[in-house]
């Protein structure tokens, strides 16, 4: 079983994407042996009103909840997020929250942000933060070049001790102590492997050794990225079968109560 923590649906305004509707994404997953994927709508990053993107996403995945696990996108500085959070959980069948402070232009630890993260946490939802969505070195001139730094991750993790977090597309986290607090039954802090490596610097191996298998989740970044590099990393990761199973699916199953 493979569950991808880092998948997306919709149009990216600055680059052509393929396999970015439900049928295309499922075909790409099938071709690569990926059973399930956590998805959010790319449109939620760019629409002023994220909730319209959440509604689109819910309709798109309505026939395949067994494979596509939808996460809401919300902006804590846009009116109505409190109600929309509840709607996403109760009416739209969503299972977690993705936030985009670089695009929605706020600080992760400002008041509204912490309030929204706490509200998501009360629903039992994990909160996902992307260090970047795409590589800023090849950005469109109208795209952001702000990256979420390790210190920002650490600050919000420290400020929200009850919240489980998943970091996506992140580099340089293996030296951070924010993963050290994972305990059975407690909140979990994890990062996906999409920008990590299992050779040379071996950041994946370092994370497993320092913080346990519970600190990593499998993630590809499809359809932005080819999925094959992430699968290769898992193939060459020098770890026992139980560790690989935890990364491939166990950690997310536990977090999302699948």
């Amino acid at each position: 079983m493979i569950i991808d923590a880092n998948a997306w649906l919709g149009q990216w305004p600055f680059r052509q994407l393929r396999h970015n509707d439900v049928d295309g994404l499922l075909r790409l997953m099938d071709a690569n042996g990926i059973d399930k994927a956590v998805v959010s709508s790319i449109h939620g990053i760019f629409y002023k009103n994220c909730q319209r993107a959440n509604e689109e996403l819910a309709e798109a995945v309505s026939g395949c909840h067994d494979r596509l696990l939808s996460f809401a996108t919300l902006n804590p500085h846009y009116p109505g997020w409190e109600r929309n959070l509840q709607l996403c959980r109760n009416d739209l069948g969503m299972r977690g929250l993705r936030v985009f402070p670089a695009y929605h232009q706020y600080d992760l630890t400002d008041g509204p942000s912490l309030e929204m993260i706490a509200a998501a946490s009360e629903l039992g939802w994990p909160v996902t933060i992307t260090q970047r969505v795409v590589d800023v070195r090849q950005r469109h001139p109208m795209d952001t070049e702000r990256l979420i730094g390790v210190a920002e991750f650490e600050a919000v993790v420290a400020a929200c001790p009850q919240t489980s977090f998943i970091m996506l597309n992140a580099l340089g986290l293996e030296g951070s102590a924010m993963f050290a607090g994972n305990r059975e039954g407690g909140r979990q802090v994890m990062t996906d492997i999409s920008r990590m490596t299992a050779v040379m610097g071996n950041s994946m191996g370092v994370m497993v050794e320092k913080y346990g298998a519970g600190s990593l989740v499998f993630g590809t970044g499809i359809p932005f990225n080819y999925p094959r590099p992430a699968l290769l990393k898992m193939d060459v990761l020098q770890a026992d079968a139980a560790t690989k199973e935890a990364i491939y699916h166990g950690n997310l199953e536990r977090l999302l109560r699948l």
């Binding site: 800023v136 070195r137 094959r228």
Partner: protein, 256 residues
């Protein structure tokens, strides 16, 4: 056969880091990479000849450690005119197979022409660190990094040169550079870098043809192998990219 045409060995305290060299070969073993073409560029806007030679000495040591796996690319800074040409001779005599340039000069700068002419005389390739950078911090750090437009201009002046534009996955706007290279058939592009944009290999094959693409990692090993394995291209195209084209480039070398 998988030949990574753009790789590096590390220099620590002025010498080859043997541990890093072992790690590179271990990664290659695990990912099915047969050969790595390595350089060790000296950092800085205008590194001194001694530092340049120390980097090349580290590559020569790595070649001796792993003669079947590591082949050398001679790093030079064209602005050190006489020293650069002498260093190319020294490195070729030690068994290196090509020239590596970094971002000290745009590749179509006249200061680079003697190095290009030397490469033509020897029948060897010139691989240049490249990218069309779009973010402010990286662009400030590399004001003279070459992109496809610079390569196309140089190829117009020296169509007989074997030029390799480094790492389309190195972070810049690779579509910009690939578009600029369409009518510069003597320029190859290597696929290295951490960027694994879905469709990038298919796009490059469609625009340039598989015969102008060279597999490479630039130390992003899983990304390098994975994007070529994951691309929806024919087996023949994949084989050409993975090693066939690189072998053909090697056959252009003239006897010394």
């Amino acid at each position: 056969m998988r030949i990574d045409v753009h790789s590096h060995v590390r220099v620590r305290d002025g010498r080859l880091s043997v541990d890093d060299c072992h790690s590179l070969v271990d990664a290659a073993d695990r990912l099915g990479i047969d050969q790595m073409w390595c350089s060790a560029p000296a950092p800085g806007a205008m590194p001194e000849p001694e530092a340049i030679r120390a980097g090349n000495d580290a590559v020569i040591e790595a070649m001796r450690l792993y003669p079947e796996r590591i082949r050398g690319e001679c790093f030079v800074v064209p602005g050190w005119y006489r020293e650069a040409l002498d260093e190319i001779d020294r490195c070729l005599d030690a068994g290196m197979i090509g020239i590596k340039l970094y971002n000290q000069y745009f590749i179509n700068d006249p200061a680079v022409f003697p190095v290009i002419e030397k490469a033509i005389d020897c029948g060897i390739f010139v691989l240049d660190h490249a990218g069309h950078l779009m973010d402010t911090p990286t662009r400030r750090l590399q004001p003279k990094i070459s992109d496809g437009v610079h390569f196309a201009d140089l190829a117009g002046r020296y169509p007989e040169a074997t030029l390799i534009m480094g790492h389309i996955g190195g972070g810049g706007d690779y579509e910009w550079s690939l578009q600029a290279l369409v009518d510069a058939p003597s320029v190859f592009a290597d696929t290295s870098g951490s960027v694994i944009d879905e469709g990038m290999i298919e796009y490059a094959v469609g625009l340039l043809g598989a015969e102008r693409l060279l597999f490479a990692c630039d130390l992003s090993e899983e990304a390098g192998v994975g994007k070529v394995l994951g691309a929806n291209i024919s087996a023949e195209e994949r084989q050409a990219i993975f090693g066939g084209n690189a072998q053909a480039i090697l056959s252009r070398r003239k006897a010394r």
